[in-house]
Symmetry: C2
Subunit: 144 residues, 2 copies
């Protein structure tokens, strides 16, 4: 479960609560811009910088994770538990998946790295884009 500010010893401010609340249970993997746009309606004074610094703080404290899945912008995930992602290469939708196989790399293929983590991404076209034919051949060849 996601840790709260009080658990990690940083001050509970309206802005931080807003971002934390926005993220909690959010499955959309929003970008900083998404977060700003959505919260701006309710908190008209909140600035971009606050969103960025708050996200950085949360990430440093391990409350959220930052995803490099989207080549254009970072996206944030309140789910810090071990899970993986399925990405629509057309609309950039990201959905969580759990991979049904064991990702332990054999010693001999690890090139002497000390392995600290792993991540699997699946790329594809989501049902909506498929239904509406909202994808190109190029989309289908994307797999970053």
């Amino acid at each position: 479960m996601m840790a709260k500010y009080k658990d990690i010893g940083i001050k509970l401010t309206p802005q931080r609560l807003a971002i934390l609340g926005y993220l909690e249970g959010n499955k959309a993997h929003p970008s900083a811009e998404d977060i700003y746009n959505d919260l701006h309606a309710k908190y008209p004074t909140m600035s971009f910088a606050t969103v960025y610094t708050t996200l950085a703080t949360l990430r440093a404290k391990g409350c959220i994770s930052e995803l490099s899945i989207d080549p254009d912008k970072k996206r944030f995930d309140p789910n810090t538990s071990d899970h993986n992602h399925l990405i629509c290469t057309s609309c950039k939708r990201v959905v969580d998946i759990t991979v049904p196989f064991d990702l332990t790399l054999p010693e001999d293929s690890a090139s002497d790295f000390m392995i600290t983590g792993s991540h699997v991404e699946f790329f594809g076209i989501c049902p909506e884009c498929k239904k509406n034919n909202r994808y190109s051949r190029e989309d289908m060849e994307k797999c970053v």
Copy 2:
């Protein structure tokens, strides 16, 4: 094997040949900046823009792939065959690996996506960083 310009019907220019040659067999997964810096010595007139557009062209033609592995900048890989990456979270070194398991996702976990590709990343600390103690606790917790 990597397709050549002549095979894909685009003009062979000195700049394109230079970038293609630089990339060929290159295992370092360089960024656009790396490429520019290294080629600039030999081709003093080549600009950033040329590097970017050439890389975009090559990518569109499927000659190279663009990696979103590094949160700060795109990196390029002449190896377009199916392979995966092992990333040092301290020095950002990227080495190729082939994963020893089958990455076919069962129907029921695919959320109705039409799957077009997959990619596995392993994160860790490379032998050099490990030996020189050139890594922090934070590095060890990075797994984008």
